[in-house]
């Protein structure tokens, strides 16, 4: 599903739109060492980490969109790096569980 449709349907707030990526998988995780080996390419990733390293991990794994949950805010450096890497950024006021659950209900695995 295109990220624009996905974010509209699940109420994600857009922070940075780089491209209307086609999202095939979803992932939830906060320990980068685990995300690095588990997240799939063309995923939407739900996390509570906001620092710039999440962009490096997303770039390496092929994650196309990062959702920062629990109403947290991205560091400015993170936004700038995401812009360079073409990775979309969103925030959700909800927990990772609820936010990811809504995407799961749309059929994203």
């Amino acid at each position: 599903m295109r990220i624009s449709e996905l974010s509209d349907k699940t109420g994600l707030k857009e922070i940075l739109f780089c491209a209307d990526h086609d999202i095939i998988h979803g992932y939830v995780g906060d320990l980068l060492s685990i995300v690095m080996r588990s997240a799939k390419a063309d995923s939407i990733w739900f996390t509570v980490q906001s620092h710039v390293n999440i962009v490096a991990v997303a770039a390496i794994t092929g994650v196309k969109a990062i959702v920062l949950c629990e109403g947290l805010e991205f560091d400015n450096e993170t936004i700038e790096k995401a812009r360079e890497e073409g990775i979309n950024l969103y925030v959700s006021s909800e927990s990772s569980y609820i936010a990811a659950g809504k995407v799961y209900e749309l059929g994203i695995r």
């Binding site: 980068l32 060492s33 690095m36 080996r37 620092h51 390293n53 490096a56 790096k81 360079e84």
Partner: protein, 230 residues
């Protein structure tokens, strides 16, 4: 009183400015300088060779699996390099774009850039906090939980300070007061990544120190003052 800043990044850390070379860092008004690059000790030799009028404390800022930073301080370069090699084995070597994430440059004794580290030093190792502290202690070092009160700090990442050490580093005075009252030995330092930050937070030693080993002994026993003690 001897002035010390024990948390400084060189040009080897990806987030460290390229101007963080020995002659620049050591021009600060400090007697004791701790070089603590992310996950490596490979630039300390250059500092030890160039900054002959300072006490250089070999250090490493180790990035644990829990995304917590732990500072390891060592009495000599050999111990630091031993740990640095072990950390390297516990790191997933992922290539990265230095243009985007920062160059990682090793210097020689004349401050020439001679080598780069090609895998990203800014990622976590697969060592837990416990394993990291054990590794530091087994190599004659002392471990401090870095900047516990900000990102990549124990409180931020875990919600609490794990009962593995009494040695912590803080940024803010209110946390210094709180943790000292709880029996911790509390360090503060600049965490400098650029020249103007070097020495921006310091500690002071009343007692004479001649080398890194003596610094470690005083650190370990809390025999130092912060600006908030003065």
């Amino acid at each position: 009183m001897k002035k010390a800043d024990l948390h400084i990044h060189s040009c080897l850390s990806p987030c460290g400015d390229l101007t963080m070379i020995p002659s620049v860092v050591c021009s600060a008004e400090l007697d004791i300088i701790g070089i603590t690059d992310h996950n490596t000790a490979r630039n300390i030799a250059a500092f030890a060779l160039v900054c002959k009028d300072k006490i250089i404390v070999p250090g490493i800022e180790i990035h644990t699996m829990e995304d917590v930073h732990v500072l390891g301080y060592f009495p000599n370069l050999d111990n630091a390099l031993e740990v640095s090699e072990i950390i390297e084995k516990h790191t997933t070597k992922l290539p990265y774009d230095p243009e985007k994430y920062g160059y990682q440059l090793i210097l020689d004794s004349e401050e020439n850039f001679v080598e780069t580290i090609d895998y990203y030093l800014g990622f976590p190792t697969n060592l837990t906090i416990d394993e990291t502290i054990k590794l530091i202690n087994e190599n004659n070092g002392i471990a401090f939980l870095a900047h516990v009160d900000r990102k990549f700090g124990a409180i931020e990442q875990l919600g609490f300070i794990p009962p593995v050490t009494k040695h912590v580093e803080v940024r803010k005075k209110e946390n210094w007061i709180k943790l000292k009252n709880e029996g911790y030995i509390v360090l503060t330092s600049s965490d400098a990544h650029t020249p103007e930050d070097v020495g921006s937070r310091k500690i002071y030693f009343d007692e004479e120190v001649q080398n890194a080993s003596e610094v470690l002994k005083l650190l370990s026993e809390g025999r130092f003052k912060t600006i908030w003690d003065l």
